[in-house]
């Protein structure tokens, strides 16, 4: 809420001392550099990015275990690993976890870490709101998963939770309540984060960083934030209706009272289809940074890439009913949504062709990051093509609710989104941590993951076309499903091995780092601003705010054309890069209040389900924290400046460099 952000609660110059003490007598204002507490109160966009990334990887393991349980259950006919009831919960929570607790926060990690760096800013527009987004997201994620313990099991209605399956009659445990409230909490986190990052992108670009000079990753993340901004309120409405139905006996999804279960499907997919692009566009952005770097060519058709991203963002709103072709929405709707679905393949195809054209004639270097990036393009193309087959309504009618759909969206989301973000991790790891990930283990990780992925989801096309339904907990012998199901299960175990290799790589790389040469500011000879500063990134990002003269500005700092028109190196990265030794950069002060606000929300959630008294306590915690936040000055007047602070006479001016530190 804007009221908590700035004046009148900002202090005039003379007022500082009065508010230097603890605002409500609870917390001492945290200072920087106090171990683990520092992470709880941090407002540094880089640390928040790391927190997002680490938590997302944790939930990747949770969702992965759920996936393995599904595959073990289906490995052979008449599987008995899980009961039908538990199976429903496991596949539901697998979907919810992977979408809301893994891919979205992992993309948020990239957004938090790299948007400010790529536009030449010192932080995001509202650093405390940024911390708030993360803590609310984490509290929502934990809340959602506690339904296993206190809610009588996970939600069991599929991640799309269709009515009337989601009603109390068919889903009597509290799982769906946890789903409805948990996703609302996660939605608040994403909404806050999207507002914050949109303002950051629009308002905090370094001088000369015009929109059409922004790196494509930042562009795609910006479009993603707009999609989040407009998609989340729609699912929020749907979740509120569901919650009111289940907890307060409203009649929104009660067909006996004349309600229309299709309302849920429409609201859900108006959110749900843009959600697909929310998942895939960040990966597109990552790939668009990696392929030019390792092809030593500028991105082919930058404008086309940007505008096809925008086109995808717009058209993503006009295709939702292709998820509902068999729900009886009528021939005109089906025809219209068939056409719009075919059309949205056009900007996506433009992107694929531009990546290929970027590589064409380039001097390719197949590092692990590049391999993942190329695999992303290839696997996403397969998923995109099977997606086009769904736009043909008669074919879709045949395929709906079969494993063909499961194959399709895993090729898009895993093959596109997850492989793309792994590419990003290998690419930016040295920037974030100051050491490389091991390329040899990375190679094993890549190949095992690629083979395992195709072995898991490739056969599902066949299973689907043979007629195997999704969401069934087992299947009888003799339908011809045995072989490919076993293949898929073997593939899923390979993916698990690949993920373990990645974890081992993270640990081993860190352990080996002291014996290896440092990556330096720009290990890959890249193109955007984050490579013009030291690795790992200093806490204040940029010593001086860069002046941007062109697209790929950092590349043009290193290379220029000589008299004969040949591109020659004019400076090494080490010469041209900033040293990270600036002093007296004033940074936004840390705060515990974002965490405190976030603690209240799950209490409200438990309270709505179990006892309204608990909700009251949660509400009080949240409201009190919000007001304490508002009373807390943006910058702690007692805080020392960052690590190498000296007394500066022009303190005020130095302060301002933090660039809009008004959260």
């Amino acid at each position: 809420m804007a009221i908590t952000e700035q004046p009148p609660l900002e202090l005039g110059p003379g007022d500082a001392v009065r508010y230097a003490e603890k605002p409500l007598g609870v917390f001492t204002r945290p200072q920087q550099g106090r171990g683990w507490r520092d992470w709880l109160s941090t407002v540094d966009h880089k640390r928040i990015g790391i927190l997002y990334g680490a938590s997302a990887m944790f939930f990747f393991l949770v969702g992965g275990i759920e996936a393995l349980l599904i595959r073990l259950q289906l490995a052979a006919p008449e599987g008995s690993v899980l009961s039908a009831d538990v199976y429903n919960q496991v596949y539901t929570m697998h979907g919810v976890t992977m979408v809301f607790l893994f891919i979205m926060p992992l993309a948020a990690a990239f957004a938090n870490y790299f948007i400010p760096l790529q536009i030449g800013a010192r932080d995001v527009a509202f650093p405390r709101l940024n911390a708030l987004s993360f803590w609310i997201w984490l509290s929502g994620a934990i809340f959602l998963n506690t339904s296993w313990i206190v809610g009588g099991g996970g939600a069991d209605c599929g991640w799309f939770c269709y009515s009337t399956n989601s009603g109390v009659a068919f889903s009597p445990s509290h799982g769906v309540d946890f789903y409805a409230i948990g996703l609302q909490i996660l939605g608040i986190a994403s909404l806050v984060s999207s507002v914050n990052l949109i303002v950051t992108c629009l308002n905090m670009r370094a001088p000369g960083m015009t929109l059409m000079r922004m790196p494509v990753l930042t562009w795609m993340l910006l479009i993603t934030q707009f999609l989040l901004l407009f998609a989340l309120p729609v699912i929020t409405v749907a979740l509120f209706l569901l919650m009111f139905d289940r907890l307060f006996d409203a009649q929104f999804f009660n067909p006996d009272a004349g309600a229309d279960p299709l309302l849920w499907q429409h609201l859900f997919w108006i959110f749900g289809h843009p959600e697909v692009y929310i998942i895939i566009l960040p990966a597109f952005g990552v790939v668009s940074e990696i392929i030019p770097t390792f092809s030593r060519k500028p991105l082919f058709g930058y404008e086309f890439m940007v505008f096809s991203g925008i086109a995808i963002g717009f058209m993503g709103w006009g295709v939702w009913a292709h998820h509902m072709f068999v729900s009886g929405i009528g021939p005109i709707s089906v025809a219209a949504f068939s056409l719009s679905t075919m059309f949205i393949a056009v900007p996506t195809g433009v992107k694929v062709l531009n990546w290929l054209a970027t590589m064409w004639g380039g001097k390719l270097r197949f590092t692990v990051a590049m391999k993942f990036a190329v695999a992303t393009v290839a696997m996403f193309t397969i998923g995109g093509l099977s997606g086009v087959t769904h736009s043909v309504a008669p074919a879709d009618t045949q395929q709906t609710d079969t494993y063909y759909i499961v194959a399709h969206f895993h090729y898009v989301i895993f093959g596109g989104g997850v492989l793309g973000l792994f590419a990003g991790m290998y690419f930016w790891w040295p920037k974030i941590w100051g050491h490389f990930l091991n390329e040899r283990i990375g190679n094993w990780h890549f190949w095992i993951m690629l083979v395992g992925f195709n072995l898991t989801f490739g056969p599902m096309h066949i299973l689907g076309l043979q007629g195997m339904s999704r969401r069934i907990d087992t299947y009888a012998r003799g339908y011809g499903f045995e072989f490919w199901n076993m293949a898929a299960t073997v593939g899923s175990l390979l993916i698990a091995v690949a993920v373990l290799l990645f974890i081992w790589n993270v640990v081993k790389s860190k352990r080996d780092a002291p014996h290896l040469p440092l990556p330096g500011p720009d290990p890959w000879d890249s193109r955007s601003l984050e490579w013009s500063i030291p690795s790992p990134v200093p806490v204040h990002n940029f010593d001086t705010v860069p002046q941007v003269h062109s697209r790929d500005d950092w590349w043009h700092t290193k290379y220029a054309e000589n008299d004969e028109g040949k591109v020659v190196r004019v400076a090494t990265a080490e010469e041209a890069a900033q040293t990270g030794e600036a002093t007296g950069v004033h940074l936004p002060s840390p705060s515990f209040w974002p965490l405190a606000v976030a603690v209240g929300l799950p209490l409200i959630g438990y309270g709505l389900i179990f006892s309204l008294w608990l909700a009251l306590i949660g509400a009080l915690v949240t409201i009190a924290s919000l007001y304490s936040w508002a009373m807390e000055p943006v910058d702690d007047p007692d805080a020392t400046h960052d690590h190498h602070d000296e007394d500066h006479e022009d303190d005020k001016n130095e302060d301002d460099q933090a660039g809009g530190h008004d959260s």
Binding site: Q6, P7, P233, A257, A259, L267, E303, T544, V545
Partner: protein
């Protein structure tokens, strides 16, 4: 590079070290907070859009029981709508007074805005209780659930606005709401006007267009 900048390049006063000495310079020229409020309100449009669509889908689904449209008291709601619209006027006057450096007048208009909003919310509470007495409760039928949810969400938005206005009022009493930070009043005003405009839609679409 061939790219035409989409937006006019903002000339910052940047010295040789890249030090940016204009504290309020942002790329768009809008402050972060104001831009954030506009962005947030964009999101709110979709929230109310979803709720209004839900009501429109369900407005005739009475399940054989009384519909909200059967018990509407248009003259009463017209008056409370008028009160809410007038609060937008007092909001503008409050902003004008604060930005001219007249804190007392600003305070008065802030309080007036909050009071008018309070009258509206009070009217809504009265309306809700009257409807329940006449047999249209939250759980009566899909139409009533949709009606109470939509208008209830709007009422909560107005109430949050009142909380913000009263926070400004208290800040002003403490002397912390000065001409210098009148933008906060403007931003709360943006929210307040938005909530008013949403009510114009709700009143027209829900109350005035007859169910068929």
């Amino acid at each position: 590079m061939s790219a035409e900048p989409l937006m006019a390049e903002v000339d910052h006063a940047v010295d040789a070290d890249g030090h940016d000495h204009d504290p309020h310079a942002t790329t768009t020229g809008l402050s972060h907070t104001k831009l954030a409020m506009w962005v947030f309100l964009g999101s709110e449009c979709l929230l109310f859009g979803g709720l209004i669509s839900t009501y429109l889908l369900y407005k005739t689904r009475g399940n054989g029981r009384t519909l909200p449209t059967d018990v509407f008291d248009i003259p009463f709601t017209s008056v409370s709508s008028f009160v809410l619209l007038m609060s937008s006027l007092t909001m503008v006057l409050a902003l004008s007074a604060v930005s001219r450096g007249e804190p007392e007048a600003g305070r008065t208009w802030l309080l007036a805005t909050a009071l008018l909003g309070g009258v509206f919310v009070g009217g809504q509470v009265y309306e809700f209780t009257a409807f329940v007495r006449e047999g249209v409760a939250f759980t009566t039928n899909p139409a009533s659930s949709a009606f109470f949810t939509l208008t209830g969400f709007h009422g909560v938005h107005v109430s949050l606005g009142i909380v913000m206005l009263m926070s400004l009022f208290v800040a002003s009493l403490k002397g912390k709401l000065t001409q210098r930070n009148s933008e906060t009043v403007e931003i709360v005003g943006l929210y307040w006007h938005f909530v008013d405009i949403v009510w114009i839609f709700i009143f027209t679409v829900i109350y005035l267009i007859p169910a068929d």
